[in-house]
């Protein structure tokens, strides 16, 4: 049997045959999730729903990226990967850490949001938004101001019976465009490029949260609009629900996996326990100004 690596990410303890530099490595543990190479069928038995690249049965989720890998996630939290000949391990990991990981989280009723998480005096502030909204750049700006960043891009939420909504720490890197790094006077030197064809880089961050989760106090929905200056307004009711659903990572996949009801109720629990704001920003705006603006909202 090949050696196993152990990781913690998004509320899950993972034993993996593949080394995952994006995740926090931990010492050997009883892992809920196992990741290994093995045989993956081309078709699942008893398919209940089928979409391009993916098949769903009552017990399994199959995801097939020709030329890279075919992945199967079972209800027992076992991820089996069949790597296509000649595929690069970086590419195998990208789909593993995005869609396959999303399926794993959804199957465990752990709600992944498209959001960065910042630690503000021991409570979490989530900055949610579509790609390009400025989540990671704002996270970097707040990091420069001395705040701890728990998550970049994906933040996974659960409802704790005692603490209420909590967010887990996930990856240990920010994913940043070269331009965003340059805005903060960083070069891409010594940084790992995420994919050869994309100028996006992996920027390591240090974390020191004691038990890997924090209660959530605020969620900000960051949107690029045709406006002259940055503004914000409270988000509540249907606007908040829509924001949460739109920013749920792979939300169509969650629906396909039968999680619509579960998540609707989670959104309600979240909505009743947190403050929420929509921040509109112009397409071109000084990242430091935006970070200052968001810091002000989070401190009031």
């Amino acid at each position: 049997m090949p050696a196993l690596y152990y990781f913690y990410s998004n509320g899950l303890r993972i034993a993996s045959e593949i080394f995952l530099p994006e995740l926090q490595e931990i010492s050997e543990t009883d892992a809920a999730v196992t990741i290994k190479y093995g045989k993956v069928p081309e078709r699942l038995n008893n398919i209940i729903a089928e979409y391009p690249l993916r098949q769903i049965s009552a017990t399994e989720f199959l995801f097939d990226i020709k030329g890279t890998a075919r992945y199967c996630v079972g209800n027992n939290n076992e991820v089996i990967i069949h790597k296509y000949e000649g595929a690069e391990e970086d590419a195998v990991r990208i789909y593993l850490l995005s869609t396959v990981f999303a399926a794993l989280l959804h199957k465990n009723d752990l709600l992944p949001l498209h959001a960065s998480t910042v630690n503000i005096d021991g409570t979490a502030a989530l900055i949610a938004g579509a790609s390009g909204a400025g989540k990671s750049t704002t996270a970097l700006g707040l990091l420069k101001k001395g705040y701890e960043i728990l998550n970049d891009d994906i933040s996974t939420i659960d409802i704790d019976p005692e603490k209420g909504p909590i967010v887990f720490s996930g990856y240990t890197h920010l994913k940043l465009w070269e331009k965003s790094l340059n805005d903060y006077n960083h070069t891409t030197e010594n940084l790992r490029q995420l994919r050869r064809d994309i100028k996006k880089y992996s920027f390591p961050i240090e974390r020191k949260i004691p038990d890997n989760n924090l209660p959530i106090k605020t969620i900000i929905f960051l949107q690029v609009k045709q406006v002259d200056q940055i503004s914000h307004k409270p988000a509540s009711g249907i606007a908040l629900f829509d924001g949460l659903r739109k920013n749920t990572f792979r939300h169509r996949l969650a629906k396909e996996l039968g999680k619509s009801e579960t998540y609707f109720n989670k959104y309600a629990r979240l909505a009743s326990a947190i403050n929420s704001f929509t921040v509109l920003r112009p397409e071109h705006c000084d990242p430091e100004l935006l970070a200052d603006y968001i810091e002000q909202i989070l401190l009031t």
């Binding site: 509540s236 009711g237 629900f241 629906k255 619509s260 009801e261 609707f264 109720n265 309600a268 909505a271």
Partner: protein, 95 residues
């Protein structure tokens, strides 16, 4: 317009989930997967339709609750009910 008669019976679609957030009610249709928000009046209408009710009785209730004339109320409530019916949130049964 105008398909609703006083004796038309209105009832909730059972496949709707609701959550109350502050003064707003947010609903999800299980089959369509869509979300809807109801304001205070909408929320009141949804609440009293817990049991099927005729359109006439519904309007009488809303009029009393919000101090409106029944006629005024019918004009205001009808488009709302028609929309909820179109979205399959409510069911109508013509007597």
């Amino acid at each position: 317009m105008g398909v609703l008669k006083s004796e038309t019976i209105l009832s909730r679609n059972e496949r709707i989930l609701t959550n109350e957030i502050g003064t707003e009610t947010v609903m999800m249709s299980i089959d369509e997967g869509r979300y809807y928000g109801l304001n205070k009046t909408g929320n009141y209408i949804w609440r009293i339709l817990e049991k099927p009710l005729s359109f006439g009785d519904l309007c009488a209730n809303v009029a009393a609750e919000f101090n409106l004339t029944e006629r005024q109320c019918k004009e205001d409530v009808e488009p709302f009910i028609e929309e909820l019916t179109k979205e399959k949130i409510l069911k109508v049964r013509i007597q």
